[in-house]
């Protein structure tokens, strides 16, 4: 029993971090918006870490899953606005977000996961743009006009509830999703899935020879990660700002941000995405305040410098140093 509890101790620092962020936002006036942004980055990193961190495969079209989740929510709310289902519509929207991003990940995974390393990254590099042009080209879901569903959301929930959702509850839901993703990561790490993924990340051929069904475990990680991305999109995008435009929701910068967050914190660590999300979010915020208009010019070389100097990320580096001490039990 004790051993079982100890196995799951590393979730504590993650929960503490999210709780601290939540209470800073709640108690300090004017901080909620910044905390919400940071939480979004943490959640995105936590979701992407399940795939990128645990398998070492770089999905360069990851934002496509965020986009599909956003569309899942938007399409559900616009079609069911008049049905009188009330708050249940939002739950259905979440289910559709999961279905949309899950199906896309199955389709992309079936093709791209046959490829390895750089080839996988190249295969996925156009998923988001391809999807964007498909939606625009076939006029699916409003095509290039996008979907604006502010009035439908108000109709479903009532004006007051919808505005409370956009300004407060959506951000709380982002925390819930981030924690769920972290818990899932830990459960995976402590189960057969995690051991299989670690083996294939280190040496895929050897793992295969040992009898591990690498394809199955890769698809599990890929789909889990994609579904969480869909939830993040449905919440942090669709419910907060009720509109979807293809060029914005499939913007490659979100993929890059997710990769940086995972990398900064330490790929494949449990605490990494929270640390990475905080460093990235705060860094971006500070630079845009101190050097408005020039933040990217300063940020870009800084990021390259960090990649060169700290390839294992912050948590990876700390774990390498303190992993064997008592503190190490809490850091994963």
């Amino acid at each position: 029993m004790m051993r079982n509890v100890e196995k799951y101790l590393p979730i504590l620092p993650v929960l503490v971090m999210y709780a601290v962020l939540f209470f800073i936002g709640l108690t300090m006036p004017g901080m909620w918006q910044l905390m919400a942004t940071l939480l979004f980055y943490c959640a995105l990193g936590q979701a992407f870490n399940i795939f990128l961190g645990m398998t070492g495969y770089v999905d360069f079209g990851y934002v496509a899953f965020v986009g599909m989740g956003t569309y899942g929510m938007a399409v559900t709310i616009t079609t069911l606005a008049g049905s009188g289902l009330g708050g249940f519509t939002v739950i259905l929207g979440y289910i559709m977000a999961l279905v949309f991003s899950g199906l896309l990940s199955l389709a992309v995974g079936a093709v791209a996961l046959r490829l390895r390393g750089a080839y996988f990254a190249i295969a996925t590099i156009g998923v988001n743009e391809g999807l964007r042009f498909f939606i625009e080209g076939t006029s699916l879901w409003g095509g290039s006009e996008g979907i604006i569903f502010m009035s439908q959301l108000n109709q479903v929930l009532g004006d007051e509830a919808a505005s409370a959702l956009a300004t407060f509850w959506a951000d709380v839901l982002v925390i819930v999703i981030a924690i769920l993703a972290a818990v899932t990561t830990l459960i995976y790490m402590r189960s057969k899935i995690g051991y299989a993924l670690t083996a294939l990340r280190e040496d895929e051929d050897a793992a295969k020879v040992m009898g591990i069904n690498v394809t199955m475990f890769k698809i599990i990680a890929f789909m889990t990660s994609a579904c969480f991305a869909g939830l993040v999109g449905a919440t942090a995008w669709a419910l907060k700002t009720p509109y979807v435009f293809p060029p914005e929701v499939f913007e490659i910068h979100y993929t890059i941000e997710a990769i940086i967050i995972v990398m900064l914190g330490g790929a494949g660590t449990l605490l990494g995405p929270v640390v990475g999300g905080l460093i990235y979010g705060i860094g971006k915020y500070v630079l845009s305040v101190v050097f408005p208009g020039f933040q990217l010019l300063i940020f870009a070389p800084l990021i390259i410098l960090i990649i060169v100097a700290f390839p294992d990320g912050v948590v990876g580096g700390i774990r390498n140093k303190f992993g064997h001490r008592a503190l190490g039990r809490f850091i994963l």
């Binding site: 990128l52 070492g56 770089v58 360069f60 093709v111 791209a112 046959r114 490829l115 390393g117 750089a118 080839y119 990254a121 190249i122 295969a123 590099i125 156009g126 998923v127 743009e129 391809g130 042009f133 498909f134 625009e136 080209g137 076939t138 006029s139 095509g143 290039s144 490659i252 890059i256 990769i259 940086i260 995972v262 990398m263 790929a267 020039f294 990217l296 010019l297 870009a300 070389p301 990021i303 390259i304 990649i307 060169v308 390839p311």
Partner: protein, 295 residues
């Protein structure tokens, strides 16, 4: 009517395809030698476009003179980026080089934005048009295609005739073997990266002829995706394959436009872009060595 339109589009496709080809050779060269995926590729093309703009508008010189200037600038940028970051990341996991090359592209975008702003610019090189009966091609585009072929041939000769070129081919074949035979592999890596970037920036000069009002610091993203499709068509690691991949891609992109425009309810411009992405996945799935048999 539709046949004439198709012929005209195909002619445009061939001309643009040559430029696409040369614009992808750098990507294939870098991937072939270093196994580094340059996801900032489009930004380097963009720099070439702005070099042309500078030569034409500010210096009043022929865009032809911009080709060697862009190449040398690219060579310098390539060496700088190689020695400051890429060299240290060759042994690191993929995500490091992917992020690093992406942010190199961002640096270039921001520097160009600082110099030229982010509004669309362009220039019009008036050198007449060539009439083919069913269509007419601006001479500027034709010169760009000829310039592309010349650059490709020069690279081919350089690979075959010079020691450095031979060493590079040896490293592509087997880097350990090359090292044992006394090839300075690290030097070859640096040269390949610089040469790849040089070629890419130079190709921007050619591409600028096709974009009379379309130059913008962020224009590169579109060409990054296209370049990957083309590189995959040509087998990813082969610069020659990339050139022919570019030709095929130009023909398919422009040719399919005619057909897609004939289908009601479709927006043909977006659909050609979607087609490019679909091609990327399908080719990687059924023929990862590219359409042309590599070696």
């Amino acid at each position: 009517m539709i046949a004439e339109q198709l012929l005209s589009n195909l002619a445009q496709g061939v001309v643009l395809g040559c430029v696409y080809g040369v614009a992808t050779m750098g990507l294939s060269l870098i991937f072939g030698v270093l196994k580094v995926v340059n996801v900032g590729h489009g930004a380097f093309i963009m720099v070439g476009c702005f070099v042309t703009l500078f030569f034409f508008n500010s210096l009043g010189m022929s865009p032809f003179l911009a080709i060697p200037a862009a190449f040398l600038l690219g060579l310098g940028i390539g060496y700088l980026f190689y020695h400051s970051a890429i060299r240290r990341l060759l042994k690191a996991p993929e995500l490091s080089t992917l992020l690093a090359t992406f942010y190199m592209g961002v640096i270039l975008q921001e520097v160009v934005k600082l110099m030229y702003g982010s509004e669309y610019r362009g220039f019009n090189w008036k050198v007449g048009t060539l009439s083919l009966g069913f269509t007419s091609l601006p001479m500027a585009k034709l010169y760009a295609a000829l310039g592309s072929i010349a650059v490709a041939l020069l690279l081919f000769a350089w690979f075959r005739k010079t020691r450095a070129g031979t060493a590079m081919r040896a490293v592509v074949e087997d880097d350990e073997g090359a090292r044992v035979c006394g090839v300075n592999v690290n030097g070859v890596y640096a040269l390949s990266f610089a040469l790849g970037i040089g070629l890419t920036v130079a190709s921007g000069v050619m591409l600028a002829m096709f974009l009379p009002v379309g130059l913008n610091p962020y224009m590169g993203a579109e060409y990054t995706l296209k370049a990957f499709v083309i590189a995959v068509l040509g087998g990813l690691a082969s610069p020659y394959g990339a050139f022919f991949g570019g030709l095929i891609f130009g023909i398919i992109e422009n040719g399919s436009y005619t057909f897609l425009a004939a289908i009601p309810g479709l927006e043909p411009f977006s659909m050609t872009r979607f087609l490019a992405f679909a091609m990327l996945l399908i080719i990687l799935l059924i023929r990862p060595t590219g359409l042309l048999r590599a070696k």
